[in-house]
């Protein structure tokens, strides 16, 4: 029992929590943009899956994880645009159309994988980039400054997104069309353009999340995300539509998962309780965020299609 508190084990466990959190973080920060503008995209998991396959396959073919990440971003952006067309222009019922995008991503990623790859082949993952100087700090250096570039970028996305949403005209427009699209429209803000942009950002980040997941693991498999896209959507609600809250949720989820894994590995959680323990991350995250997010409310126009004069 005592030897789980060695610095090596603690660093390994927390790093594991960070790795588990990153795809959730990317996808949910992106989804927060869309939801703040009033569009719920339930297709996040499908976009992640296609981003994951695109990233994996591109890496397999080019031997470059960066090309893989670029492919994931491009696929995510394209599907984000497609989602915008469906939700914003065609005014589709957001819950149902998102499920359509999810099923499309689930089926298509598997079909392409079966046809183009077949038996899983490992690919090169992102190299670690220790930050000079900082990575040598005992314990903290390894924990915070010895990761691959996409992990730093994912965390950098949080303050950047906060700034965009709270401090820029674009962010103000996003919030405005999410709260009261009619009022925003009357002020000359193009609701359609703003929602297109926000949902496309969400798609882009979901695609990145998928690519980071697949290339980070170095492998692809049918339904690789295992519904992480849906957890990401839940994190947006529980993180109160704020990038910082979303990050907290993703980290709690990742860290609890990592700690549970460690406790099971060391036999501290007995074998018989393994399956029960698998639920702990979800339960703790929900509880933590329910209490934290109580005082926030959803964007008023969330899930409501906008039609001028309608």
């Amino acid at each position: 029992m005592a030897d789980i508190f060695t610095s090596a084990v603690i660093v390994a466990t927390l790093s594991s929590g960070i790795r588990l959190a990153v795809p959730l973080l990317l996808a949910s920060v992106g989804e927060a943009f869309g939801q703040r503008s009033g569009v719920l995209n339930l297709g996040v998991d499908g976009i992640m899956l296609l981003g994951a396959f695109g990233g994996y396959y591109t890496t397999l073919k080019t031997q470059s994880p960066w090309m893989g990440l670029a492919a994931g971003l491009a696929i995510g952006m394209a599907l984000g645009l497609l989602s915008s067309v469906i939700s914003v222009s065609l005014l589709a019922e957001q819950g149902i159309s998102g499920i359509g995008v999810y099923l499309f991503g689930l089926g298509m990623s598997d079909l392409l994988f079966q046809r183009l790859v077949g038996t899983p082949l490992p690919v090169k993952s992102f190299p670690k980039v220790p930050i000079p100087g900082l990575s040598e700090i005992p314990v903290l250096g390894d924990l915070f400054f010895n990761h691959s570039l996409p992990i730093y970028l994912a965390f950098l996305a949080v303050p950047v997104s906060t700034l965009i949403i709270n401090r820029t005209r674009f962010g103000m427009n996003i919030r405005a069309v999410g709260e009261n699209p009619e009022a925003a429209d009357s002020q000359g803000v193009s609701v359609v353009k703003v929602r297109y942009a926000a949902v496309t950002i969400g798609g882009l980040m979901a695609g990145a999340a998928g690519a980071v997941l697949a290339v980070g693991l170095g492998i692809f498999q049918q339904n690789l995300t295992n519904a992480q896209g849906f957890i990401a959507i839940a994190l947006v609600y529980f993180g109160a539509w704020r990038p910082l809250g979303v990050m907290a949720g993703a980290l709690v989820y990742g860290m609890v998962s990592a700690v549970v894994l460690l406790l099971k590995t060391r036999g501290i959680i007995p074998l018989g309780a393994s399956d029960l323990a698998a639920m702990i991350p979800a339960i703790i995250t929900v509880l933590a965020l329910v209490f934290a997010a109580r005082r926030f409310r959803a964007p008023t126009a969330l899930t409501k299609p906008f039609m001028r004069g309608g």
Partner: protein, 663 residues
């Protein structure tokens, strides 16, 4: 042989169809171009210029010919042979239109393509694959005015519009076997075969007979069990070379890997089906080339004369349909050439019968069946689902005419239940519900279809139904053996196990493994059931947690471990696989894999069905009956004393002197 149906995919196609409708609606006036029908696989159509003047020598009526074939058009083997032949026919008959759908290794795709071509009015549709027989039989009846040809086969399916075509590939095999015996210095010759059926089997038998005409020659034959596993074929070639072979041959499209191995090791190669010289220009001695155009000309002439089928055709050395093409880049000694020429002359004049001294017993074929599989993960998951799909493919290869349908990826039990019921409803003879989670659904469904045989695995429980068999894997046995080996290999004394949920064969494997390792002495085995069969990311983090806790040897069961193997690879930690051979995931660090060979129990289940018993019995694969096999990774240098220990452990389990400790 297979057809895939996925619930997700079905919805996907609906969505795609809707998108297509939308696109068509948006196309408006410009959408005047004829619609292109995309058949599965790669489809290409070529039509020669219509104004081409008629050739001087009595051209045949211009025809529209379609080819449907399982592998790539340029596979340097089976599919290429027919594509080349049709192109010859097209060149001889200007105006002939040729359409090709290749890569249809999924039989349902092939069936759709065959039907599509018949529907489009093609005059001759070639179903180029023995596995297409069942589908063709149905389709041919629906299009009585279309001529079909099926190969390689000698059976016209009792249809007046189906021709059969076959290759006497034992003839060229014999000739090349004679040459191989002369050219071999070590007098050991290796053969890499796919599955022991059809023209591949004929070739291998002929080759072996030819080689063994010379005294003192050993011919080692390795049927790898797959037409497409290039990696396995290369490994088989490596094994032959390690056993002293200095001449190799092999049949079917997966040998490209083996030719590469021959090239790398400076070992001679004999090709068949197509000219394989380009794969190893210095080392290919000769190739037996199929010239299907010989029989195609006859088939087309018969069609022109009004007979659409009902006849079987064969290419052989006498009619020029088989040709031995020598590689000019290889200096063949005169002696070998003389022997080859004499053998060809002898076969043509009937004085030599290449299969006369058949030393391979023809297995008694079972009754052709329709088998359906419903399984939770992907067919090529390198784990649970792949194990049953591989096994059913072995059964299908042993029993030509067997129809196999697969619904994989049904991790949602309701979807699986719908598929199981669907197959029973469609009259499949044996429906395999491959997932312990399907038991509840199967219990209900089996009662509704008392005349259909079901099998449920992994389980030891037949659900109290007379038409349900249960099948299980004694995976604790291989687990125990690998645990013993793992304990010998660990330096840190800590071994990590990544399990899914503590049930079924995964639990047996983990228990056996832990018990084997712990019985070897002072070893800590940390076990982590992650609570999911599919969460790749979590499995990989579990592997990280094991490594952080000091583990230097890992194992794990179920389809989500692909991520964990990657972690083992990245951290230079050894891995033991189970369910399927996982060497390809980490070629340097996988020590060995316990492989499930469900065909061992499937043969029994099918024999019982044929004998009238639809179920009520539980079957098990284990080390003793050959249903469980420990496949070591040749790329990992296992010390000799550990190999001996593993062998002794396997024997101990088989003779009962070792108890795996699992329950």
């Amino acid at each position: 042989m297979n057809h895939n149906r996925k619930p997700g995919l079905a919805r996907l196609w609906v969505l795609a169809a809707l998108l297509a409708l939308v696109a068509a609606a948006c196309g408006g006036d410009e959408a005047e171009e004829p619609a292109t029908t995309a058949a599965p696989g790669t489809t290409q159509a070529t039509a020669d210029a219509e104004e081409e003047p008629a050739s001087p020598e009595e051209p045949m009526e211009p025809l529209r010919i379609a080819v449907v074939a399982p592998s790539a058009s340029n596979d340097l083997a089976f599919t290429q042979s027919i594509v080349d032949a049709v192109n010859v026919i097209a060149a001889e008959n200007p105006g002939t239109e040729v359409a090709i759908t290749d890569g249809t290794f999924i039989v349902e795709d092939a069936a759709a393509a065959i039907r599509g071509y018949a529907d489009e009015g093609y005059d001759l549709v070639l179903a180029h694959g023995s596995q297409y027989g069942g589908s063709l039989e149905e389709i041919a009846g629906d299009f009585p005015d279309t001529a079909f040809a099926w190969g390689t086969s000698t059976d016209t399916l009792g249809q007046p519009n189906v021709s059969a075509y076959n290759a006497a590939s034992e003839q060229g095999g014999y000739v090349m076997g004679r040459m191989a015996a002369v050219l071999s210095d070590s007098k050991v010759i290796g053969v890499v075969g796919p599955i022991e059926v059809g023209d591949a089997k004929l070739f291998v038998d002929g080759f072996a007979n030819g080689a063994m005409e010379q005294d003192g020659v050993t011919v080692n034959i390795n049927y790898i069990g797959s037409f497409s596993d290039v990696a396995l074929a290369s490994e088989a070639a490596q094994a032959h070379i390690a056993s002293g072979a200095d001449v190799l041959t092999g049949s079917a499209q997966m040998v490209v890997g083996a030719v590469g191995v021959a090239q790398a090791n400076d070992v001679l190669w004999f090709g068949t089906q197509a000219n394989q010289t380009s794969l190893a220009p210095d080392l290919v001695v000769a190739s037996q080339v199929y010239k299907w155009e010989i029989v195609l000309r006859d088939i087309i002439a018969d069609i022109s004369a009004g007979s659409l089928g009902g006849k079987a055709y064969e290419i052989d050395l006498a009619n020029g349909g088989l040709a031995i093409e020598y590689n000019d880049g290889y200096p063949l000694p005169a002696e070998a050439r003389t022997i080859a020429d004499a053998a060809i002359a002898g076969i043509i004049d009937g004085s030599i019968h290449p299969l006369e001294q058949m030393f391979v017993e023809e297995p008694e074929p079972m009754e052709p069946l329709r088998i359906a599989i419903v399984a939770p993960s992907a067919s090529n998951d390198l784990a649970f689902t792949q194990s049953i799909v591989d096994a059913v493919n072995v059964i299908a290869a042993e029993n030509p005419g067997t129809e196999v349908a697969i619904t994989d990826g049904t991790f949602i039990v309701e979807d699986a239940a719908a598929a199981i019921r669907g197959y029973a409803d469609e009259g499949y003879d044996l429906v395999l519900a491959h997932g312990s989670q399907y038991g509840g659904s199967l219990e209900e469904i089996a009662g509704d279809f008392p005349d259909t045989a079901f099998a449920w695995g992994t389980s030891a429980d037949t659900l109290g139904q007379p038409n349900v068999s249960a099948y299980n894997a004694a995976s604790d046995q291989g687990g125990y053996v690998m645990g013993v080996v793992a304990a010998e290999l660990t330096q840190s004394g800590v071994i990590g196990v990544v399990g899914p949920i503590e049930v079924g064969d995964a639990k047996l494997f983990v228990d056996g493994f832990a018990s084997g390792a712990r019985n070897q002495g002072d070893v800590t085995v940390n076990i982590n059931y992650i609570g999911s069969f599919s969460d790749v990311a979590l499995a990989s983090e579990a592997a990280q947690a094991h490594i952080a806790s000091g583990a230097d040897v890992l194992t794990g069961s179920a389809q989500m471990v692909v991520g964990a193997v990657g972690v083992a690879q990245a951290n230079d930690v050894l891995w033991f696989g189970t369910q399927a051979n996982q060497t390809s995931l980490a070629p340097d660090l996988v020590v060995g894999s316990q492989v499930y060979k469900w065909e061992v129990v499937l043969r029994d289940i099918i024999a019982d069905i044929s004998a009238g018993s639809l179920g009520g019995k539980a079957y098990e694969i284990d080390l003793a009956n050959g249903g469980l096999v420990i496949e070591p990774n040749d790329g990992y240098p296992l010390p000799a004393d550990v190999i001996a220990l593993a062998a002794a452990t396997i024997n101990g389990i088989i003779d009962g002197s070792i108890n795996t400790g699992a329950n």
